[in-house]
Assembly symmetry: C2
Homo-oligomer: 247 residues x 2
């Protein structure tokens, strides 16, 4: 039975972190809301009417048979052993989940660059505050988060010295690497001016991003119509007035 | 060997969700930064100098022997089976982790009520934006999150009808219940005016909060000097100018 991913149609959003894992593994899955009647099914699940003791708080969530798993990091933690996207080792699984939760925090901060005051209001109603928040985000938060991942990739098993691939977790390619790829791509889309020096400042993240782009199943996915383009309904939005040259 | 919790001293903060689980279980643990030399040890771990393949991004993190686990939800997911604070069932463990991640999201939103623009600036430099964000938070986000938990507690095994205790996960008391207690207490501290109707609006959360207060080990902990008072260094801060009567 295929995995069933439930997430809003029309944007990459948080669902994209799950899609990348499913696509990289060549897993059999359905993107339910993109099918006829899918939105009704998602709403039914959110109301707790579709089985499962705990209705999800919000998309994305995953159905695997009758089991429902919610939140990106939880879904990836659950799926990764089945998709061979995490080592079969408890310590490394916990390391991966911890790293994914750092990505979760970063994604929330990316979202708030364009919605710093209220998700119930339009971006256009909080543009001034968005400009201030984005300025602080680009100055302080991107270096803190992406610098952390860059150091992590640089240090992992001295792979850089050996010219080997960089991985967040030990010697194995994991879902964390796919998520780092996604935030690198998203930052480049949202803030092309501010990220002009990205590859120089964060060479290990940039190298990982480029390696992930070339993975056969990921390359096929990115070229397919299943990969929606980044757009201004998603987490990473390109509003030129928020972008800026580096200090 | 006792568990070692690493978190900033002087505030409850995110570390408190871990303390509550350790205290409720009567676990042997050390609050490292409150000991002589503890801050240096925490900083050493954050720099990756204290063992562990993946240095934590930020406190809190937990050391269990040589193993390091970071992020509140990950730490609780790891500890709970050892502390008998989650059922021995994979589906229920995933349900608990999903709920804890909803709490993680809520806690981040609470933090941003007083720091909507930048964590690098003082609250006093973003008071106007904090007022706007808090207004939206109290109007939209508290009802969405706390209403969700209230419905969850109401529906769990029809316990309400039987006059039994309410639990987030099935028939068992879990770490999620302790975390719901903490956010209920925190909201009451930060926004006493806005939460005047809390117990009427969210009777199941309020009942759970009161039940948790009475658990013997929690009652002893709350009366001890290990439980710091809420204060304006933490996540839940009482700034009277941000509080407001309900609409």
């Amino acid at each position: 039975m295929p995995y069933e991913l439930f997430y809003w149609d029309g944007l990459q959003g948080r669902g994209e972190f799950i899609r990348l894992a499913l696509e990289d593994a060549g897993a059999d899955y359905r993107d339910v809301v993109r099918e006829p009647g899918g939105m009704d099914r998602m709403m039914s699940c959110l109301k707790g009417a579709d089985g499962g003791a705990v209705p999800p708080f919000a998309p994305p969530f995953l159905k695997d048979g009758e089991r429902i798993v919610s939140h990106v990091a939880n879904i990836l933690h659950y799926l990764a052993p089945k998709l061979a996207l995490v080592p079969d080792d408890e310590t490394l699984r916990l390391d991966a989940l911890g790293l994914q939760l750092t990505i979760t925090d970063f994604v929330a901060e990316v979202h708030d660059t364009h919605h710093p005051i209220s998700t119930a209001d339009y971006y256009e109603d909080q543009m001034e505050e968005a400009k201030a928040r984005t300025t602080a985000f680009l100055k302080h938060r991107v270096p803190k988060f992406i610098g952390y991942f860059d150091r992590l990739l640089a240090s992992s098993d001295d792979r850089q010295a050996k010219g080997e691939e960089r991985h967040a977790i030990g010697r194995s390619f994991t879902y964390v690497d796919l998520s780092i790829f996604q935030i690198a791509e998203g930052l480049g889309y949202a803030f092309p001016r501010a990220m002009a020096d990205f590859d120089r400042l964060y060479p290990n993240v940039a190298a990982l991003r480029d390696e992930v782009r070339q993975r056969p199943r990921i390359a096929a996915y990115l070229a397919s119509d299943r990969r929606l383009a980044f757009n201004e309904s998603g987490i990473f939005r390109h509003y030129p007035e928020l972008d800026r040259d580096p200090d």
